[in-house]
Symmetry: C2
Subunit: 121 residues, 2 copies
DNA sequence: AGCGAAGTCAACCAAAAAGTTGAACACGCA
DNA sequence: TGCGTGTTCAACTTTTTGGTTGACTTCGCT
C-alpha cells in the first residue's frame, strides 16, 4: 500500500472512516466531536484521521488546541476517474461482444475457435 | 470489514487486484493468465481473486478444468454512488458558505454566533 | 488407465492494521 | 502559575492480510 490510489481505497474500506467522511461532508468537526458516536477511544479516532489525512481525503488546521478536520473533496476525482475508466472499457467490450454475437447469428453459427486458447478475448 | 462497500473498497486497495480488474476490463482471463505478470505464486493470485469475488467485482464460471474470470462492472455503481453523494454534499456546502460570506460582506460583518459550539455545521 | 495442466485447499509465517492504556504536549483561562 | 481540555505519541496486543509451500481435485488427452 504505497501509491495514492491504494491509500485512498484503503482509507475508505473502513466503515468508521467512511462514516467520518460522510459527516465531514456536512461540515468540519473536531476530533472529539468525530469520536463521540463510536465505541472506540479518541486515540483510535485520531489514528483513523491520520489514515484519512495520509490518503489526502482530509486536512487538519490548528486553531488553538483543537484541530478542526476538513474534507478535501478533490481526491474523489482520482477514484471516480479510475472507476469510470474501467467501467467504460468493460461496457464498450460488451457492446463489441454483442455486435460479434449478432454477426454470428446471421452468419455461420459454429465458430469453434479451438486454437492455442492462450489469450483472453 | 463486513458490508459490501467495505469489501469493494478493500478489494481495490491492493495494486495487484486493481491491475487485475484493469486487465479484466479488456476481456475475461484464466487464473494462470492473470497470474503471469506478477512475481507471486498462482495460489496467491487465486486468493486475490477470491477477495475480488467476495466483493462481487468478479465472477468465475467453470469451463472444463479452467475457470475464466469475468469482471462484474455493475458493482462500480455502488462506489460511484457513495462517492458522488458526499462529493456533492461537500460542494454544495462550499456554495452555501460562499453565499453566507457574500451576505456578510454586504450586511453586518459581526455575526458572532457563540452558542453551544457543539455541532459541526 | 494414467500423465499433465489448471485451480483450489490447508497450514503456516511475517508484516500491517486496528485497537487498547498511559504518558506527554499545547493551549486558554481563572 | 498551574489546572483542564483537546489531541497526539509510544508501547503493546490481537486480528487480518498477503505471501509461501505442499498436497489434492478435476479434467482433457493419448
Amino acid at each position: 500500500m504505497d501509491d495514492r490510489l491504494s491509500r485512498v481505497f484503503s482509507a475508505l474500506a473502513d466503515p468508521i472512516r467512511r462514516d467520518m467522511v460522510a459527516r465531514l461532508a456536512v461540515g468540519d468537526a473536531t476530533v472529539n466531536e468525530l469520536a463521540e458516536p463510536y465505541a472506540v477511544t479518541v486515540q483510535a479516532v485520531s489514528k483513523h484521521l491520520k489514515v484519512l489525512e495520509d490518503a489526502g481525503l482530509v486536512s487538519r488546521s490548528k486553531q488553538a488546541q483543537r484541530r478542526p478536520v476538513h474534507l478535501e473533496a478533490e481526491v474523489f476525482d482520482l477514484m471516480t476517474k479510475w472507476i469510470e475508466r474501467y467501467r467504460l472499457e468493460a461496457e464498450q467490450r460488451y457492446q463489441r461482444l454483442d455486435a460479434v454475437l449478432a454477426e454470428m447469428a446471421v452468419g455461420e453459427p459454429d465458430q469453434a475457435k479451438t486454437r492455442s486458447e492462450g489469450e483472453a478475448s
